[in-house]
């Protein structure tokens, strides 16, 4: 009973200090949301990517057929596949806008160098993610391509996302620690 009350108080304090009673500097503006939008675009890519994972077959002979099956036979498969194909354009647009804002406003300076470093690494990884993904969907059926396709699939599905998750963790930790901005 005491534990239950303590847990409830802890949760209330946590919500109050982080959400309901939290105060932030005035004048962040709409462009300050670009980072959040980049995260949302990434989450959409992640969600649609998990869906595609169930149907895509990383085999040189069956890859194309699996994409066509997904687009034509799975309910809303075409929509999810197209969101996954169009999403990177919007995501990279958001990340670039976010970085240009940080660059021109000088927010990357001390003590926020690590924000920039982790963000720049995330942008490069996003470009790599797009590149590997585009090669997966545009794959040509040839004799020596099976190995390449499996390798690309593993890199696109696990290799890059794991590194991205690490950099994202670092980015968000640094944002929490040093804050998003100071009066400039």
């Amino acid at each position: 009973m005491i534990n239950d009350t303590e847990n409830r108080n802890f949760l209330r304090e946590l919500i109050e200090s982080n959400v309901t009673k939290k105060l932030i500097p005035k004048g962040l503006g709409w462009f300050g949301c670009m980072g959040g939008l980049s995260l949302l675009a990434f989450m959409m890519q992640l969600g649609t990517g998990i869906f595609l994972m169930f149907y895509f077959i990383p085999s040189a002979r069956e890859a194309l057929a699996s994409i066509q099956y997904m687009s034509h036979s799975v309910p809303y498969g075409w929509l999810i596949q197209r969101i996954h194909a169009v999403g990177p354009h919007i995501m990279i647009g958001m990340v670039l806008s976010h970085m240009l804002r940080i660059l021109f406003k000088g927010i990357y300076k001390h003590p926020r160098e690590l924000h920039w470093i982790s963000g720049a690494c995330l942008l490069i990884l996003t470009l790599l993610m797009y590149y590997t993904g585009s090669l997966l969907s545009a794959h040509n059926i040839s004799d020596n391509s099976t190995m390449n396709l499996t390798f690309l699939y593993a890199i696109h599905l696990a290799g890059i996302p794991v590194v991205m998750a690490l950099f994202m963790g670092m980015h968000f930790f640094m944002v929490r620690k040093t804050g998003i901005c100071e009066p400039l």
Binding site: L23, C33, H110, R112, I117, A120, I124, N140, R176, L184
Partner: protein
């Protein structure tokens, strides 16, 4: 966790909830609408070939650079160098003023540290980094429209 209330009057602050939360919800809805419109309007490449025939706008400079530089090793080295410079940008331009104020790091007073942090100017107030950024942006845009 960063405390934004330190050294600020209540007039300089606003509540995170609902102000910032609502701002994020509105722009998130906007993003979803833009994405759905793009899904309807953007054509997917028809031919599935090894190299995508539709090069996306954000990879155009790299693609054109690849066509301009015939040597693969040089091209990859150049890309890695650009990536390293891009990542380490804050370390390259940061702290100059800090050291100018006092060449000996140990002698930097707390006052100078505070002044440096408060005096963080926008990029256009610093001519050399600003020039570098503008030249790089113009070069990248030029590369996008280069036909080889």
């Amino acid at each position: 966790m960063k405390d934004y209330t330190k050294g600020k009057t209540p007039e300089m602050l606003e509540p995170f909830f609902p102000n910032e939360i609502f701002r994020h919800i509105i722009v998130s809805c906007f993003l979803i609408i833009v994405e759905l419109i793009a899904v309807i309007l953007f054509p997917l490449p028809v031919k599935l070939i090894n190299k995508p025939d539709h090069i996306p706008w954000f990879l155009l400079p790299i693609y054109n650079l690849d066509k301009l530089i015939q040597n693969k090793t040089l091209f990859i080295s150049l890309l890695v160098l650009c990536a390293l410079l891009f990542i380490s940008w804050p370390l390259l331009v940061n702290g100059k003023k800090y050291y100018l104020l006092s060449p000996n790091k140990e002698q930097v007073s707390n006052h100078n540290r505070v002044m440096y942090i408060k005096e963080r100017p926008n990029l256009w107030q610093r001519p050399i980094p600003f020039m570098i950024v503008i030249v790089v942006i113009i070069s990248v845009i030029t590369l996008c429209f280069t036909t080889t």
